[in-house]
Symmetry: D2
Subunit: 341 residues, 4 copies
Amino acid sequence: MKIALVGVTGYTGATLFKLLKQHPEVDEVRLYGRSTPSDDELAALLSGFRHLSLHIHEYSSVNIMQECDLVFFATPAKVTSQLALDFIQADFPVIDLSGDFRLKDSADYERYYQAPAAPSQALQAASYNLADLKKPQSNYIANPGCYATATLLATIPLLAADLIDLDSLIVDAKSGLSGAGKKLTTSSHYAYINENSLPYKVNQHQHIPEIIQELQTWQPAFKTLQFTTTLIPVTRGIMASVYAKPKKPLSQAELYQTFADFYQDKPFVRVLKDGFPSLKEVAYSNYTDIGLAYDEASHTIFICSVIDNLMKGASSQAIQNMNLLCGFPLETGLTALPTFF
Amino acid sequence: MKIALVGVTGYTGATLFKLLKQHPEVDEVRLYGRSTPSDDELAALLSGFRHLSLHIHEYSSVNIMQECDLVFFATPAKVTSQLALDFIQADFPVIDLSGDFRLKDSADYERYYQAPAAPSQALQAASYNLADLKKPQSNYIANPGCYATATLLATIPLLAADLIDLDSLIVDAKSGLSGAGKKLTTSSHYAYINENSLPYKVNQHQHIPEIIQELQTWQPAFKTLQFTTTLIPVTRGIMASVYAKPKKPLSQAELYQTFADFYQDKPFVRVLKDGFPSLKEVAYSNYTDIGLAYDEASHTIFICSVIDNLMKGASSQAIQNMNLLCGFPLETGLTALPTFF
Amino acid sequence: MKIALVGVTGYTGATLFKLLKQHPEVDEVRLYGRSTPSDDELAALLSGFRHLSLHIHEYSSVNIMQECDLVFFATPAKVTSQLALDFIQADFPVIDLSGDFRLKDSADYERYYQAPAAPSQALQAASYNLADLKKPQSNYIANPGCYATATLLATIPLLAADLIDLDSLIVDAKSGLSGAGKKLTTSSHYAYINENSLPYKVNQHQHIPEIIQELQTWQPAFKTLQFTTTLIPVTRGIMASVYAKPKKPLSQAELYQTFADFYQDKPFVRVLKDGFPSLKEVAYSNYTDIGLAYDEASHTIFICSVIDNLMKGASSQAIQNMNLLCGFPLETGLTALPTFF
Amino acid sequence: MKIALVGVTGYTGATLFKLLKQHPEVDEVRLYGRSTPSDDELAALLSGFRHLSLHIHEYSSVNIMQECDLVFFATPAKVTSQLALDFIQADFPVIDLSGDFRLKDSADYERYYQAPAAPSQALQAASYNLADLKKPQSNYIANPGCYATATLLATIPLLAADLIDLDSLIVDAKSGLSGAGKKLTTSSHYAYINENSLPYKVNQHQHIPEIIQELQTWQPAFKTLQFTTTLIPVTRGIMASVYAKPKKPLSQAELYQTFADFYQDKPFVRVLKDGFPSLKEVAYSNYTDIGLAYDEASHTIFICSVIDNLMKGASSQAIQNMNLLCGFPLETGLTALPTFF
């Protein structure tokens, strides 16, 4: 296959490039961009790949469709809402890592992204595809967000089994710094954030409507959740700490069994029988690890899921979605073990 | 004053030593220990103080009472449960940074500390003293734990104002590594915990009964809470992220006013009108910063408090308790501003 | 005393503010700035001081001289080269933390700072004052740079004792991130520099001419050195690793004695008899720690000095210089012990 | 091929396991150990591999030779000096990541490793094989040490081209924490080493004789070097900062050309034309990046090389050596791009 990649210079784009270069079904990766740095500038931006001769071609949907078999957009929000139509009309395979096609409701998009949504018909054409649980319904895949992936994998089994009071869901999510991208900001300045931690975008994160939309597919009566995002001083990793009240008395064993059954044939989700996972146990991999506890004293369910935000939360899930879309075995190109130190 | 300090070599002991050397009412700090390293060994353990000639005297309650006016125990759990009786009988001033005299209920102590509790009568003689809110009731002060301090200061105003459903309290607390002391463990090994994070002692932390005991003094009907502790890769700092459901509809403004009123004459608690505090804003200081939010969609109160675990969570609170016990102005020796970078 | 502080919002300015608030001879600190953020903006910039009501007065040399007894400039390079003349003409006490008045040679300044130097006469009026070794010669003090301080304290004893081949000096200096200030840059972006390290400004750092100028006061024949600066992922701290060839055979004991004698009555320099210091042993303090080794096989002297770049490398050395200028005991306001964790 | 791996639980062993699982010529990896943890204990030690069912077989040289085609020893020093003889006698392929067979001179081994060396005849049978520059001379490969690899690749071109004064070599090497392994020590305790840095084993590191031995193969007159090792707070990475005086006048261009020519057909060494490499640019890869500068003022050559100590400094170099030994193309199993964030 010939793959087009738009947006190689960001963290998820560079990670995707690396994964594509290792993918056995990929013959060529062609880079496209709307701004086209010179080859020297590009080499400086991607200095880890300094032995390669990289070149960015000027963006053109026509050329991409002529020259390639599938395109990945590793671009920020607000790009594909403008550019996607050509591909949708042509039913050309797209995997979009941005948030532009995740929300079916334009109003939600406009509220959380503060920009015009893509045309409603185009939004309907896209498949939001949490790769461990679904199969693509169309050729335009909206790849899930990082916080959404960690949260959904930790909560869907609770809703699928109708275990919890739907009004009780609280998620205390932690994220490292790469989630915020390469853009220089005060909160990503080393001397500010090292040895530091703080909540941000409390109840305002743009992944909230995405989580609600997907949870409603499992329980239409689900309304909303408390969602807190806290920055912690690591480069990679998201932890979703989920709290909920059970509908009726529960045991730790039942809780474990619910998750173990739900994920029994899902190779990239690892449910722990005892204890809790750490961020590093999934670092640089496509795995999601899930630990769980039920506290009989406070009648509270606690689920903790961890992912690598640049991998499962973005680029390796995008590869998993490509495998699904193209009919390759699910683990193709994703067999690297986690690097836990 | 002449101060005795038992346990200078640990993180809280060394921090206390530093604070005592700066305290204007302290003339001399005498070090005592049950193990007495040679002066060279001690210098190596406290290498930051290498220009001082430090010496540890052999522990003797008689000598301490003869030579000093007050004793600090910066020792691990299980030490003062053995040694405190002499001081209690003599009504000699003690500030005990360990957990040995915090719990009034011996059974709780024995369950959470897995060791015999101090004699019941001795336990009753001790004052658990959260220094921002109480005055010592006796000469034996049980200095609060770090997680307990952060959690209590974030939750007591809710209970004092009878704002919340008592069954709904959930605390997702984060801690840095110094909280676990100098003892070498796998989870404190740099290559393990750097770039990492994981929950530990979920619903089993020894500060849980201490939190419950104190919350019951504000609301006797309070029973228990969900309490999760998560390790994050910083050296200093505790963040308590508190979630609760209000008894009745509430506004963000009311929530803020409740906290602002409660802490209005407390110089070491800073309530934020907007936004949330970060760990570094209180680092190396005696301050507790508190941010708050009420989410109308999910009907959830979110309170976030941050402290420096070695300072407010241990040593500077111990100085604040000394000031209270000795009748010094509350801020004596504690005027250093936070070092936020 | 009433102190004026220009430039409180940077790292060194805020650190200086904190030290001045603790200094027993300082009655008031008045803040001045050429840009004057609103009080709310200022509170956000200095969020660690959020309980204080801070206000920045519009900069005016006339007002500063009328209202205050001494002024600190914690401003970037290129500011005092413009503003200093009023104070120099009036012989008003200034402590300038910037590099603008450190170099006597305008051409050096213009080469390394790429900006016009201050008038030559003004440059001659300023005293470059390494506070552990000199007494101010005038009322305008050029406070030494951070790399220069660590390097000079590690090398001057070698030159003073005429121990080394003057052509052999090599300094491999390491610095944390706060040295680069609050300005957002790629190399200070957390996801870039955490878990990373790289040399920068090799043989081009602006502290090089300052080091050469001062070493020439001890050995006029000294010409230059190899000076490498390497960024390491810590917030605070500079380590100068110094290599030189001895003029004649030497022993480790002689090397130690040379340094011990040189610094014997200098309370803020601690020479280690064995082993090497670590950054944390001087963190948040005015100390410089020095370790040394002589390798008989390779005939190489190795000296390692460490400082806290924001303290000894900037703000606490500025306080030490104020103490010297005002005739206060040297240690006034500088008695805090290092915080080594 | 069937591969035996002895010592999977350490950092280099686990890294090697991961690489072997991705290697296209490896059919099976069998784990052996002298201590054999239960499968549950092993799973806990290798929690990042929690979806695999791992089992450690009891160590037996006979079984290894019957069941496998090649054995890797990722064991600490002092193990293969005892165990290697069976394999050497049988001329069975061994790649030994420890230091036990690197030094030809038993006295050097005994001085630096403080243990008895392997029998002299066995030592002679082993090939010290810096994989980028040599081909194995025998079936027993002593895989180079991490500091030695970074240092040799930065210095050999200087000696090969006879560019430097052999008495002038100084190496200021920096290392992260994983180099010290999983053993719990004070200097690897997070609260000690985070935000910290210090020199250690100055002129005493066990890689010094290995560096000298290999440099002498390029310049027999070479005697020794100054070698300083400094711990920096990263998990992975070694930087060798090399200083030397040229024999005769040199230009930056000549220096670059010397290195570019030397490494022109070496795919895993990347010589930078301008600027300097950072640790992350080679992280998780088999690359060595080299930057260089010649300072005309001080007549000093400065070379900076960076490697990932667990990869090029241990496990991926071991794979490269396996490729050489088995006649596979050099890059087999080593094509993953660096992960520079």
